[in-house]
Symmetry: C2
Subunit: 360 residues, 2 copies
């Protein structure tokens, strides 16, 4: 078996230790005689797995006691609807700061449920920086302010949590979740699809301050109603048990490696190394303002798009996988999630150097 270095933006590479544990448990978890896939979600075995994962997530992120952790389905796209349905709380307006493709989708969906005010958005949707906080046009009546801390496609990441006063701040953390410590108390709600730093696709995490619950719109589907899900400990109906279990193993892997401070240190180093090489190469280019560059998703272009196919083919031959950029921006994208080893980044840079030398 030869494992590749997989730079996919999500679903994404997972720690090999976790995959080996999953393989070892696959037909018989912990002497139960069952796969986790086969366990009743109400049985003591799975309830223990689920509770441990929630406790580990709470401790890793330092989630305060007045927040609920929800394990949901439907991805960030499901949350684009669920957030206005749950958080308008009698209001009719919400603010959206749009810094990339996912923010565009979020505001579009919200507009079906409320007046979704564009608080900030770059001219002509050129997503290469975070708009300065002073220039945001916040509505004093907004029920919440929504932003996307990391835009997976454009590779634009907020260097800091913006200050929006007392209005609940809502953030789509999908592609930066668990990449560094965050101060949960700064947020009314954070959410994340699992399939980046947490586990397999099919699980969506919502962490919400409890005082915001209980005022969902009348026609909110029960599976998107935070209050009902919180009251049922995320077992309102059958949860995505196996994905939840794999997430739990990833959380334990993060804990065993020093938690989020250690992830942040390593992620900063990995991304810094790649950006430094790109900027100094005189060949590759990343268009994002240096202060707002993502640690997780590094898009870059070659001097001529006509070389893209050769770049990808050569990369594939030496086990550097899934480097093609999103179709909306072209070029390449290297996603460097927690589970991407530093050796993968080094191998990529070596390959980029060689390609530039022979195609310069």
């Amino acid at each position: 078996m030869t494992r590749v270095f997989n730079f996919s933006a999500g679903p994404a590479t997972l720690p090999i230790d976790v995959l080996e544990q999953v393989r070892n448990d696959l037909l018989d978890w912990n002497g139960s005689g069952m796969s986790v896939m086969e366990m009743s979600h109400r049985g003591k075995e799975f309830v223990a797995i689920a509770e441990q994962a929630t406790a580990d997530l709470k401790s890793l992120l330092g989630v305060p006691d007045n927040y609920s952790i929800l394990w949901m389905q439907g991805g960030a796209t499901g949350q684009f609807s669920a957030i206005p349905m749950n958080l308008l709380r009698g209001g009719s307006t919400a603010d959206y700061v749009v810094t990339g493709s996912w923010g565009k989708k979020a505001i579009k969906e919200a507009g079906r449920f409320c007046t979704a005010n564009t608080a900030a958005r770059p001219v002509d949707d050129v997503f290469t920086h975070v708009p300065a906080r002073e220039q945001w046009n916040l509505d004093p009546n907004a029920a919440y302010v929504h932003y996307t801390p990391n835009e997976t496609i454009e590779g634009v990441e907020f260097p800091e949590v913006p200050d929006v006063g007392d209005v609940p701040l809502v953030a789509d953390f999908s592609s930066t979740f668990l990449s560094r410590p965050i101060d949960v108390e700064r947020f009314g709600l954070i959410y994340a699809g699992a399939q980046k730093n947490l586990g397999p696709a099919g699980v969506t995490i919502v962490i919400v301050r409890n005082d915001l619950l209980g005022q969902a719109l009348p026609q909110t589907p029960t599976v998107l109603d935070y209050q009902q899900i919180a009251a049922a400990d995320s077992m309102l109906n059958t949860p995505p048990c196996f994905a939840w279990y794999v997430c739990g193993l990833v959380l334990q892997w993060i804990k065993a490696r020093g938690g989020l401070p250690a992830m942040a240190e390593r992620n900063a180093r990995k991304a810094g190394k790649l950006y430094d090489y790109i900027d100094g190469s005189g060949y590759y280019r990343n268009p994002v303002r240096p202060s707002d560059r993502s640690w997780m998703n590094v898009p870059f272009t070659l001097p001529d798009a006509g070389l893209d196919a050769a770049f990808l083919a050569g990369a594939g031959e030496i086990g550097l996988s899934t480097l093609k950029g999103h179709r909306s921006v072209g070029g390449m994208r290297a996603s460097l999630y927690n589970a991407m080893p530093e050796a993968g980044v080094d191998a990529l840079i070596d390959y980029m150097k060689e390609f530039a030398r022979t195609n310069g």
Copy 2:
């Protein structure tokens, strides 16, 4: 490793051949150097897995070309909302036939979106039979008629598909899906959570006639909008990829064993054997009218509920797992899905005989 016979109602036992394949592929699917959990859902590897699973499902069930097969998230509970949101089509009423606990949940949720008319429901909710078709009170203006072909908790199964004329028939097939052939053309829509006969929890199948699409309520969340999901080949956003892949392996397992006719023959034999023993035992009891008994879920009681704990403990000692009945009905429940080997049913009957002999 000692595998148990797992009688869980769902998530439920899976074919050991499938689990072994999953284990073999776990770190490196088909020489890709990646786990299926790690693959981009837009990559050629996963797209091939997904398309094959859809094609196998279509051929196994004989789904006509004018139907769409959707791979969704959120379980049957999500569909309880999605069905009225998508299928009212300008109408304001839908008919519900309630034959057990899941039908009760379905009509309750539908009542949040429309007038949900009770077309039939047993007196005092004693769910031990299917109400005769002649006694159903159908509303001529109903947008659809909803029923539950198999009630997982009470073990009540429709022996035949009811005739409701030209009104679209909508059915929650969750716990009987793929247990026997069905004539899809009789239905406007069928849906099923995967975690019984199809695969891990986290996938929900919807098979819907195309002429019913495109008239969703204005505030239908995009992740529940059938038309949009169909238009995106169920990849509107990241699907639950790994669960989808395991479902695909289960579908191949069913095909290799003769398809749904073979499943039906084996399921009828397994269930018949257990009901025959129960009825003749003079000790155990199943309350369901014989013509309406489920092939998939067999609830039974002991002569004295005080013996339940001893029954379960003894069963657990010899590897007969998850036999406790649902808390709402008590007693025991043996779920006999496709993946339950006939040897498991034989072992259960042997144990029941011995228990009755020593506790009679």
